[in-house]
Structure formats: structure tokens, C-alpha cells
Amino acid sequence: MSKRVLELLKSKFGDDIYETHSQFGDDTAVVNPEKWRAIAQFLRDDPQCAMSMFVDITAVDYHGRQTPRFEVVLHLRSLERGHRIRLKARVGDDEGTSVEIDSLVPVWKGANWFERECFDMFGVVFKGHPDLRRILMYPEFVGYPLRKDYPADKTQPLIELRNVPDKLPPFGIDEGMPFGRQTHDYPRGEETN
């Protein structure tokens, strides 16, 4: 299907593409996490790739099985060309500290909540994310529940009801429009980055 995209990536980035494989129509490239955002930018902007649709970003914890412990997995699709690709980057040490990778929000805005979820569940820190806080769990929660070293039956103490008069909206001004809020509520140019 889109082996051409893999060939393009290899010719453009060379040694930063660690390995590739294509199986059953799924094309995967394991890339250098330092070049994560540059590769994403290339995949979006290059007319032969034209990955206009951000599908998913998540992480896998290979605790005790491989040395960069986490694998951040990104799925992309091109609506124009109808092909898709999967990118992986391996980050983090065995203790689960310094799990850092570049945020893709500057490339696709849709990555925002996905990266927040990934941070919430795995503790992957996305550098350059505009608003990296927990999205599913509550702020008092300690630890990252989907890491393999989090005890499966561990429960945390109950929280008090949070009474916040000026409640934080779940998303900012640049993260889509809720119903009823019109673009003319904001000065021109402020509603987009």
C-alpha cells in the first residue's frame, strides 16, 4: 500500500529510521525520538505523503522486556491518498523517569487530548504540549495506572468534592468550539493559533 511512504522516509531521514516493516498492509517505522516532530511535520506537508488525518497516539509499556521501556505509537492516515502509516518511538529508562518526547500538537491539533490521555495513563511527558494535565483521572491521583509496575488491584484514597467557583473548562480557546460559542466572541485572529 504505502511502502512508497516508507521509502520516502528512509531516503529523507536515513539513519533516523531505525527499522521498518510491512505486513498485511500495515506499514510501520520505528524512528528516532529526537526527530519525532520533524518526521511528523514531513509526513503532513510532503505532497506525496499528505498525512492530513491524525488517527491515534498511545503508548505501550514493555517493562522488563526492552530497555527503552515505552513505545509511543502514532497512527496517521491520508484522506487525499488513502494510505496510512504507523510510527513508533522508543523512550524512557527502566525506572520510568525521563519519559519524554516532542508533542505533536503544533502539527495536528487533534493530538491534544490524546497526548493528555497518554500522559495520564503512562506518564509520557510531551514536550511543548500547551496544557499537559490529567484528563481521565483526578489531579490527586498518584502514579500512572496503565504502567506495568502499577499494582493491578491498588485503590487510592477517596477524594473530596472539589468546589471550584471558576471551574476550568476542559479545553482552551484553541481546542475547538463548544456548542453555542461563536467565533465572533473573540477578537479576530485569537481563535486560531
Binding site: 493491578a152 485503590t155 477517596l158
Partner: protein, 195 residues
């Protein structure tokens, strides 16, 4: 002069027939509890798949209205009976507690299904292991989901408890006790060498 035993705490209602109209005497709290048990205004706190079973139970086929419990109130301030139907997460627990606190006395809590009763099979980081960690429960109805008959059993049990003024927690027992009928259960897992 007739005598009617209302059950419960040995209260007898005496009906005196002296005129065309007649009158009855009873204890005041027995009368009050009798009124309470047939006018349960309910607040449904419904979060998960047990909701389907709750809807089936509230609809005419099983007809909760027979027991005076047909009026849902979507404000806890007007409700007597809190139905907790479904899984409650750790994050939602303070909201449930606040809802309970907003209800006016007398108030009763009904744990509908296994998840509300004890957390069910959600033994993990996100689920509250039973709503009795945050609110006191009057009647537990286990089941995943419980049959409407079991829920009606629970409702009648609650009415009985209200009539008796009893606030200890009660459980609707399964029709077939698994500890008694364990021999009939299918055994899973490895074949034992003993047989």
C-alpha cells in the same frame, strides 16, 4: 370492634365500629411509616448498563407503580429513595455523596446490582468498591444485572424495613444459594486428579 395486625413491631390497629363512619387507632410513628413506605419518591442515580434493567423494571411490564414508588424526581431535594444503578468510579464518588447529602430526611439508599453493592469484577484503580464506602445503604440487590423480580423483592424488603423502622442493611438473597447448590455448578479449570 375488629383488630388488624399490621406486622412489624407488634403494633395492632384497632378498628372501632360505633357509627356509620368508624375510626381506627394506631401509634403515630406506625401511621407515619405506613405513609412513607407507600410514597417513595425516587431519585435515579444511573451510571451504567444496569440502567437498562432499571428501565425495564420501571416500565409497565413490571410496574413499580403498584408499590407506590413510581414518581421519579430529578432533584435530590424532593426525593426519598436514592437508586444507585451501576458502577461508581472513584472520581464520581464525591458527587454521589453530595447528592445523598442534598436529600431531605427520611432518606433511603438502594444499591442496584453487583457494581453498586461491592464494585463487582472491577477490582482496579478506578472503581469504587461498593457505594457503602461513601453513603449508607439500606438494601443491596446483587446480580449482574439483577432480575426485575429481585429488585421488586428488594423494594418490598425496603418497605418492610420502613414499616418496622429498621435501618440495618438488608440483602436480597439469591433464589438458589450457591453454597448449598455448589454440587450443581460447572467446574472450570484443570481436571483434578482426585476424581
Amino acid at each position: 370492634m375488629g383488630e388488624v395486625n399490621s406486622g412489624g413491631a407488634g403494633t395492632t390497629i384497632q378498628v372501632l365500629e360505633g357509627s356509620e363512619t368508624g375510626f381506627a387507632t394506631t401509634r403515630f410513628d406506625a401511621l407515619l411509616n405506613w405513609a412513607r413506605k407507600y410514597s417513595l419518591f425516587q431519585y435515579p442515580f444511573i451510571t451504567a448498563c444496569c440502567a437498562m434493567e432499571f428501565m425495564a423494571m420501571a416500565s409497565p411490564r413490571f410496574d413499580m407503580a403498584r408499590f407506590g414508588a413510581e414518581a421519579p424526581r430529578f432533584s435530590p431535594r424532593q426525593a426519598d429513595l436514592l437508586w444507585v444503578v451501576g458502577t461508581i468510579s472513584q472520581r464520581q464518588a464525591p458527587a454521589l455523596k453530595r447528592i445523598y447529602e442534598q436529600m431531605a430526611d427520611p432518606k433511603y439508599v438502594f444499591a442496584f446490582g453487583t457494581c453498586a453493592s461491592c464494585g463487582g469484577f472491577y477490582d482496579n484503580y478506578t472503581t469504587l468498591a461498593g457505594i457503602d464506602k461513601v453513603v449508607p445503604v439500606d438494601v443491596y440487590v446483587p446480580g449482574c444485572p439483577p432480575r426485575p423480580e429481585a429488585v421488586i423483592d428488594g423494594l418490598l424488603l425496603l418497605q418492610d424495613k420502613i414499616a418496622r423502622g429498621d435501618r440495618t442493611p438488608a440483602i436480597v438473597k439469591p433464589r438458589r444459594d450457591p453454597t448449598v447448590h455448589a454440587g450443581n455448578l460447572v467446574r472450570l479449570g484443570k481436571k483434578s486428579t482426585a476424581t
